[in-house]
Structure formats: C-alpha cells, structure tokens
Amino acid sequence: MIRAPTSWLVYGSFALGLLFAILPLPAAVAPMRPFLLAMLMAYWSMEVPNKIGIGSAFIVGLLADLVTATLLGEHAFRLVVLVFLVQRFRARLRFFPLWQQALAVGLLLGNDQVLVVIIHWLSGAASLPWLSMLSPVLAMLLWPWLYVLLDMARLRARER
C-alpha cells in the first residue's frame, strides 16, 4: 500500500525530471543529456507498480511533449514502451545487483534512442547528433546513484 508521502515524492521527482529536460546545458553536452524522466519512470514502475503504470507513463510523456515542444505524443510513446518493458521484466530487474540493473537501464534507454530515431525518421525531422548515443551510457552511470538516492528518500518519507 502506498502512503501519501511517497506519492508526493513520485510527483515531485517527475516535476524535477521535467525541469531537468529543459534546463539549459552547455551546447557541447546538451545532446548527451540523460533522459532522467525515463529513469524515474523506470524506478517508480519497478518499485510502486500499482501506482505507476503505462497510463501514468502516457500522461507524464504528454507533459514532457508540452514542455519540450516536441511532436505531441513523442515522449508519451517512448515512455509507454519503456514502462511496458520494465513491467515485463520487473521480477528480474528488481533482484538484479545494482550494476546489472544499471546495464539493463542502459539497454532500455538505448532502445529508447532507437525509437527516437524511428519517430524522427518517420516524421521527417532531423537526424540525431551522434553525441546523443552517449546519453544512455550516461544514464547507465547515473542509475546506481539515482537508485540509492530515491531509496533513501523513500525510507525517509516512510519513517515520518
């Protein structure tokens, strides 16, 4: 059963994820920006699957589309696929050691990049700069930290 503090944590983290998506970075690193929103989505759908599912992925994705001014539905599509995959392999993902989990997240986000390439190709938008291929790698390196951080935040929220 999910408690109120945790649900605030969920919303808050998504709001931060949205903000991170548009936070100005130096032009050299901007293409490598890790898709933090997807990582958060993966974490929450893994840990509180009765609350965060494909439906919430769709809604958060639409919000991301609005905020980053992409094609409406682009982020939604990507997040829906990601959450579906996480749910599918949830039992295994949850009990992986952290490094293995990070590897899996890297793969999931790599798959996400492939989706972006396909969507861009179909909609006639620009191809991605090659640097964006490093974004899943960065996400993979960040995952353990994010995981531990969110776990600690959840523990705190529960103790209160």
């Binding site: 949205l18 903000l19 998506a21 548009i22 936070l23 100005p24 970075l25 032009a27 901007a30 293409p31 920006r33 599912g53 494909i54 439906g55 992925a57 769709f58 994705g61 639409l62 919000l63 589309d65 609005l66 905020v67 980053t68 001014a69 992409t70 094609l71 409406l72 539905g73 682009e74 939604a76 599509f77 829906v80 696929v81 579906f84 995959l85 599918r88 392999f89 972006v116 969507i119 861009h120 909609s123 006639g124 938008a125 620009a126 191809s127 991605l128 700069p129 964006s132």
Partner: protein, 300 residues
C-alpha cells in the same frame, strides 16, 4: 510490436491481455504524433496549457538568469569602465556610419519612388529577452520572454547584430517560441550580395551550418560570399545578412552545386535579440513589379 514481446508467457491469452493497454496507448500516441505532424495541433494544445508550461520554462531559466545577474553585480568597476569606453567608441563609429547610410537610404527611397516600387525601409524593432531554456535538442528553437501581450505575432523575424536569427512560430500569452534559421524545418530566401544570385538557405539541425542546394553549376558563387535576405516571399525584410558561404561541392547527381554556409547571426544564445515588426504597408515583397501578383511564401 513483435520485437518487444520478449519471451511469450505460459498462457498466451494472459500475455495478450497484458499487451492490450500497451497497444491502446501506443496507438493513441501514434495518432497524436500523426495529427501533430500533419495539422500542427501541438501549437493549439500548448497554447491552452500555457498555465503549466510557462512556469516550467520560467523555473528552468532561473539558474542562468541568476548567474547572469550575479555576474553583472559582481563584475569589477574597472571592467565596467573598460566596457563603457569600448561601447561608447563603438556607438560613435556606428552613429557616423548611420548618418552616411541615412543619406543613401533617402536617395534610394527617392529613386524607388520614381520607379514606382513599394520597397519600404520602415522597420520597427524592439528588444526581446531570450529565456535560457533547452527545448528538444534535435530541433533548433528558442523561447522568448515575450508573448501576445507584448505584441509578438507569429511570423515576425528575429535578428541580432550579426544578422537573421529566425522567426516566431508559436505565441503564448507571455512567451513565444522561435524557429532558428538552422532548424531543419526552416528556409529563408537569400541573395548573394556580390552577384545577386538568388537561392534558398535551409537549416540543417546543426548549430553552425546552413545548406543551399540546387544551385546551377554556372552560377556565380564563391567561398566567402555574403548572403543577404532577398525579401522574396514577404516574410523576411530584404537586406539582412544571413550567412557566409564556407564550401561548395557538386551534389550527388553532379548536375548542381550544393553550398554550405555559416550563419551570420550569433546563435549561441545571447541574452537579447531584436524582433522586427514588419509594417503591412511597408512590407517588402521583392521586385517592384510584384505589387499586383501575390508571391507565394517561401518560408516553411
């Protein structure tokens, strides 16, 4: 979605049921993508949800704005004096130039009037602040800190001290989105300053690269040539610098020449840009004879 199915469950009926919501949401987002791509419903939806979006943009721009403000406050007295001296010097030089240009412009206007053309030289500009926000990294767009309430309209042209930056595409109540010349969706009619050759400069999605395809091999074009807006199409006023030719090469069929150009504007997000108000009477529609016929827009 066969490739995402992974391993098939033990009970096929159950796994098919589990995939139902997935299929539903995927179909929904794909439909949305299709509609937005075809009819551009995104702009309308974004305008409706501006209440959510604009605070997000404001928040995301906050760190950059604070650091800039801090920098301005902390910068040393000495450097301010230096800046001041430099700027004053530049101002004097530009003022002298403008006086000379005014005379030329007057003369030009008289000659145009004799020819019966309607090329206007009235330009009204105002300064607009750029909100430091990264939108989708694969499209070249900026958010402007001014909207409908400040008189911004879709189609207005953005310039800076270097040249043409882009144009306004979406206008919210207090914010507007601008498409840069380097966006792959953008095209601007240009003219080579030296030879008068006309072409269209397309964006490429890379920050410092424009593309001019389909130039005849016999055309008079060299590396280093300056490109100006030609004013054809009526969207961009004529005579603003767009870029400089950096490379010429034959296209794949070896029938035409493809030229690369570097944009003249400073696309590294200076804090303020100029928004050009194109006065309707004074709108520049290319050659004088174009008064009667409507020129189809060359912009996207």
């Amino acid at each position: 979605m066969a490739s995402y199915g992974g391993r098939v469950g033990h009970r096929p009926a159950e796994s098919a049921l589990a995939a139902l919501p997935l299929l539903f949401y995927l179909a929904l987002s794909a439909t949305l993508i299709g509609f937005d791509q075809r009819d551009g419903i995104g702009a309308g939806v974004r305008a409706r949800f501006a209440v959510i979006i604009e605070p997000m943009w404001w928040l995301a721009g906050l760190p950059a704005r604070t650091t800039r403000a801090l920098h301005e406050n902390i910068s040393l007295h000495g450097s301010l004096i230096d800046d001041n001296r430099l700027l004053r010097h530049e101002l004097e030089v530009s003022a002298a130039r403008i006086h000379r240009l005014n005379a030329v412009a007057d003369e030009n206007a008289r000659l145009r009037a004799l020819l019966g053309g309607m090329r206007g030289y009235q330009l009204e500009v105002h300064l607009v602040e750029i909100l430091d926000v990264d939108l989708d990294p694969y499209r070249q767009r900026w958010v402007l800190n001014a909207g409908r309430d400040d008189g911004v309209l879709p189609g207005q042209v953005l310039i800076d001290s270097g040249g043409v930056l882009g144009q306004v595409i979406e206008v919210g109540k207090h914010r507007a989105t601008a498409l840069l010349v380097t966006d792959p969706d953008h095209a601007v009619p240009v003219q080579v300053a030296r030879s008068g050759l006309r072409a269209i400069a397309y964006g490429t999605g890379e920050g410092n690269h424009l593309l001019l395809p389909n130039i005849p091999q016999s055309a008079d074009l060299r590396v280093g040539d300056q490109l100006l807006t030609s004013g054809i199409g009526g969207r961009f006023p004529a005579g603003f610098p767009v870029g400089v030719i950096t490379r010429l090469q034959p296209d794949k069929m070896r029938l035409f020449v493809v030229a690369d150009a570097a944009p003249a504007a400073h696309l590294d997000r200076g804090s303020e840009v100029l928004l050009v108000h194109n006065l309707p009477e004074a709108m520049d529609v290319g050659p004088p004879a174009a008064k009667a016929r409507a020129v189809p827009g060359a912009e996207p």
